[in-house]
Symmetry: C2
Subunit: 271 residues, 2 copies
């Protein structure tokens, strides 16, 4: 189970406390919290509970959604990202994953500009809190309303525009980028520039019945996960491999059996 | 209705004869036949019927699906593409649109090699028949089993590998490529190289409920159709603008009312 981290949303039916207890008991090494997992709880206490259970806190998901039609919309996003940074600091999460946002009908170029501006605006707050930010390029099928950053090249370009601050990097999720012919080149570049901040795994099912919630467990789909993982490791990355799966089908399972499947699937690839 | 072409699959509930009669009556200028529209019919007679109704035959959809795990699979694809070419010639369609194919779990690089090989293998047959071929880059959400060609750059690369034959070009469908940050550059290149063979329009709905059959009518979504059309026209392209919409929702409508909506939506953009 070396370097295995699980996102709380992967086992969404479980409470935060069940995630911590069950991941820990299964020998999982890391946990990434989704913000809903902190609702009604003290982030510092949740963080302590996770660490006491032997789990490393990998990141907090998710900040972002910077673009907006109006100044007020964009200001509200900045405020929310600052709150997210405060939560991450209290939790003890060293990293926030950014789903950068998009506004249907607004040009993607304009949205990317607003994203760069937004990250730049909250970066001092993140730096002061000791929390890094990772731009997660999202699959082009989410370019309408979730992210105008759809390739690793675009994520690199935003890092460049910001002047390559140490506090901003990239989260590589195989689901979003596996199809990209530039993937290996862009992972290499992320390694060289110190931008490879997170690595997420799951699989792409054929057919895929839902754009959001039909991801596959590793091995259920067509993604060359082992190969991409090798590319990531070859950059010197030694961080967690984070299992992030949204799946109505898998959420409907007994979650303990599902956790067994996750650890087995992980072992298949990384043993 | 200048330069308006409709794909028969757009009004799938209609028979081939109804498509011809109703498009013609609505003042539509062109028709693209899907192969199923020729089933049980003589392609030459269908072509004659369309021309007599005043319709220009824009293309035949679709050839392709070249990749396969075995030599036998790939040979079967070549045979089918040659039959498709014969049908296009009989129909009087100057162009075949290629959905190039992919095999889940086979590397996209290998599939693209098989695609280039496949196009090269059938090209002499197409040249002899006077039929051109257009590589249609498909959205990355179809990279698992429909096409390993997911960007215009990749389509250009295949044309390059083949030695830039005049008989092979690119079909630009806004649904597949609207998100691509290189889109304008690649359309310009297609113009400069004489590869811009076809232009398809529809829209991307938010949310999209189905990966295949939830396309929008122009105006129902977020795609910058007018802007992309301008880029296309600026290359000197004077061909048809082809409405190709797969939609369970729109197929469930009265198709005459739907055709009115199509011509109205077209007029909104191009008047």
């Amino acid at each position: 189970m070396k370097r295995l981290c699980i996102h709380t949303i992967t086992t969404k039916p479980w409470s935060t406390e069940e995630c911590i207890r069950n991941y820990s008991a299964a020998g999982v090494e890391g946990i990434t919290f989704w913000r809903y997992s902190l609702e009604g709880r003290d982030p510092a206490s949740v963080g302590r509970m996770a660490r006491e259970a032997g789990l490393e806190i990998t990141s907090l998901c998710r900040g972002g959604f910077f673009p907006g039609r109006t100044v007020e919309n964009r200001q509200a996003a900045l405020d929310d990202n600052r709150r997210c940074i405060d939560e991450a600091a209290a939790l003890g999460a060293p990293l926030i994953v950014l789903v950068c946002g998009a506004v249907p009908g607004q040009s993607l170029t304009e949205s990317r500009k607003q994203i760069a501006d937004g990250i730049g605006a909250v970066l001092p707050h993140a730096d002061a809190a000791g929390v890094k930010l990772a731009i997660e390029p999202l699959h082009p099928m989410y370019a309408d309303d979730r992210s105008a950053v759809n390739t690793m090249r675009q994520a690199h370009e935003i890092c460049d525009v910001l002047g390559s601050p140490a506090g901003v990097g990239i989260a590589v999720d195989v689901y979003h980028v596996w199809w990209d012919p530039e993937l290996k080149t862009m992972i290499d570049l992320a390694g060289q520039t110190g931008r490879l901040h997170a690595f997420h795994i799951c699989d792409w099912r054929t057919p895929t019945s839902d754009l959001l919630n039909d991801r596959g467990l590793m091995g259920e789909g067509c993604i060359n996960i082992a190969e991409i993982s090798r590319w990531v490791d070859e950059t010197g990355f030694t961080g967690m491999r984070e299992v992030e799966i949204f799946s109505n089908r898998l959420w409907a399972m007994d979650q303990s059996e599902y956790l067994d499947k996750i650890t087995a699937a992980y072992g298949e690839i990384y043993s």
